[in-house]
């Protein structure tokens, strides 16, 4: 099988209240990725536009976005899998290139969440779960994740402080990320005394909604050679899985089966294991989500996540640096753009262009991006 590379990445600033329309927001990531790749529009064979609907008044947003970016008449595909829409877009792009249908495909993720109130947004996000059997009880994302936090803490005797340590780490790196929403250092005591949101999660355990866009351009091995791409980053492993939406149908409240399965597939395709990963971006929409990811991805044994963060092994100089760009907890979480932002961070790391947060000489990087409450799981392994 021939190889597929990422040849360009871009990301807007993630902000509260972007002062522009969705096409303008998407353009920012598009323009940066095109500059990064050194390409012109007729070198892009197709585009995949990724976002979660319900936030925009625009129906079928791919049309106006590719019009604005000058990507007509190339075909465009719109893909949605809640918070992991843009890594689902990457898998689609990979398939389009690997099949030979297109030589290069742009994955453009965006979300403008600020046009509705936080309560409205919680209600809409909650409807990403089972609207027939769960939503009538008054559900929202923090409460769903809180049920996994409660399940995890009870199962392994971990503490709310263990979760808070993850937020402290995010703050350590968030201050260095000029594109993050939240750029202040975070003290442990501040996390533990924060207002409760949904027990046992408190305000500092939760990421913020944000407006943002991300763009990843993939290309065939042939195009990488033809264009003389200096530092291609190769897609080495891709895994995707799904799990029942309704929590009544889940086996475990201390792990995500879809993440575990997606990780297994990605490691198998890449022919490597968790110990080979040099840097990772995991889906930390809540502190508990990063804790579960440590174990679902095999960075720690089951129940071993708290020790991993207590010993700072997931800091930049630890054995497995995780979310050293501040994670969603610092950057904010513009649903459709999130996976592309994670991919961008790992691409920059593998190229040695990550600046203050550069880990030493990484060979393999991993992205873990989840949709809904562990409903959809995508794991991507990239290599030099």
């Amino acid at each position: 099988m021939s190889k597929v590379a990422i040849v360009g990445v871009g990301q807007s600033h993630f902000v509260r209240g972007y002062p522009g329309s969705i096409r303008e927001l998407a353009f920012e990531a598009y323009a940066e990725a095109m500059n990064d790749a050194g390409l012109v529009n007729n070198q892009i064979g197709a585009s995949v536009v990724c976002s979660a609907p319900e936030y925009d008044k625009q129906r079928s947003p791919a049309g106006v976005i590719v019009e604005h970016c000058g990507l007509n008449p190339q075909p465009t595909f719109y893909t949605e899998s809640l918070c992991c829409s843009s890594t689902t877009g990457l898998k689609l792009a990979y398939s389009l290139v690997q099949s030979g249908l297109h030589d290069s495909v742009m994955v453009l993720g965006f979300q403008k969440m600020s046009e509705i109130t936080s309560a409205e947004s919680q209600e809409r996000m909650g409807r990403g779960s089972d609207i027939q059997w769960e939503s009538p009880f008054g559900t929202m994302m923090p409460a769903y994740y809180a049920m996994f936090a409660q399940g995890y803490l009870d199962q392994y005797g971990a503490s709310e402080e263990d979760l808070a340590l993850i937020r402290v780490k995010a703050g350590t790196y968030g201050q260095l990320n000029e594109r993050a929403v939240y750029r202040k250092p975070v003290e442990l005591a501040q996390c533990l005394s924060a207002d409760p949101v949904a027990s046992p999660l408190k305000l500092m355990d939760c990421c913020a909604n944000a407006d943002g866009s991300s763009c990843v351009i993939v290309a065939s091995e042939e195009k990488v050679k033809q264009w003389g791409v200096a530092q291609p980053v190769w897609i080495r492993g891709l895994g995707s899985a799904s799990a029942p939406v309704n929590l009544a149908l889940r086996e475990s409240f201390s792990s995500f089966a879809a993440a575990t399965e997606a990780g297994r597939q990605a490691y198998a395709m890449a022919g490597i294991g968790p110990g080979d990963i040099d840097v990772a971006e995991v889906h930390d929409c809540f502190t508990i989500a990063e804790m579960l990811a440590y174990e679902d991805l095999g960075f720690a044994p089951r129940g071993g996540g708290p020790e991993l963060i207590r010993s700072k092994e997931t800091y930049k100089d630890g054995s497995i640096p995780v979310n050293v760009d501040g994670g969603l907890l610092s950057k904010g979480h513009p649903i459709g753009a999130t996976g592309g932002s994670q991919l961008r961070t790992i691409v920059l790391q593998l190229r040695g262009q990550a600046g203050d947060i550069q880990v030493k000489d990484p060979e393999f990087g991993l992205v873990h991006n989840m949709g809904g409450v562990g409903i959809y799981g995508n794991v991507v392994i990239l290599g030099r």
């Binding site: 309560a119 008054g138 949101v197 949904a198 009544a248 409240f253």
Partner: protein, 146 residues
């Protein structure tokens, strides 16, 4: 003029929960059971599968499925829960409340904690699902002490 009147849709499911997002489903009888003071699931007599939430269709047996309702009785163990301090639009009047999963052994229920003071809720405690009428006249089920 026209004798062709549209058949009246059975919209009973609109009564489920504080705010229902579904009106018509093939398991509308769930509401009938709640009105009779029962929480009910379904099972497929062909393959023996037990469904909660209830289903009117069986992906194993498809057209050979024979679906029947059964009443949920007895107690289950609290698998996990969360007490909400904020609520989504439409639910703020209900605060504070806790959502939870109750493991009945063989199947689980997603619902709300009922008569247990929220500071006494513990994972593993025994609770029983019971029908409940909400202040706005809607129906749901809650998990109460047996």
């Amino acid at each position: 003029m026209s004798a062709n009147k549209k058949p009246e849709a059975d919209r009973r499911f609109a009564k489920f929960g504080t705010v229902s997002f579904t009106a018509t489903t093939k398991v509308n009888d769930f509401i009938g059971y709640l009105e009779d003071g029962k929480v009910a699931g379904t099972k497929c007599l062909t393959c023996g599968a037990v469904f909660f939430p209830p289903r009117a269709q069986c992906h194993k047996c498809r057209e050979k499925a024979q679906i029947e309702w059964f009443q949920i009785e007895g107690v289950g163990k609290l698998a996990t829960y969360s007490e909400l301090k904020y609520a989504p639009t439409g639910f703020t009047e209900d605060l504070p409340y806790a959502i939870a999963v109750l493991d009945m052994g063989g199947y689980k229920l997603f619902g709300r904690i009922g008569d247990v003071p929220l500071d006494q809720v513990k994972v593993g405690m025994e609770l029983a699902p019971v029908p409940n009428e909400l202040p706005n006249g809607q129906l749901n089920y809650v998990f109460n002490r047996p």
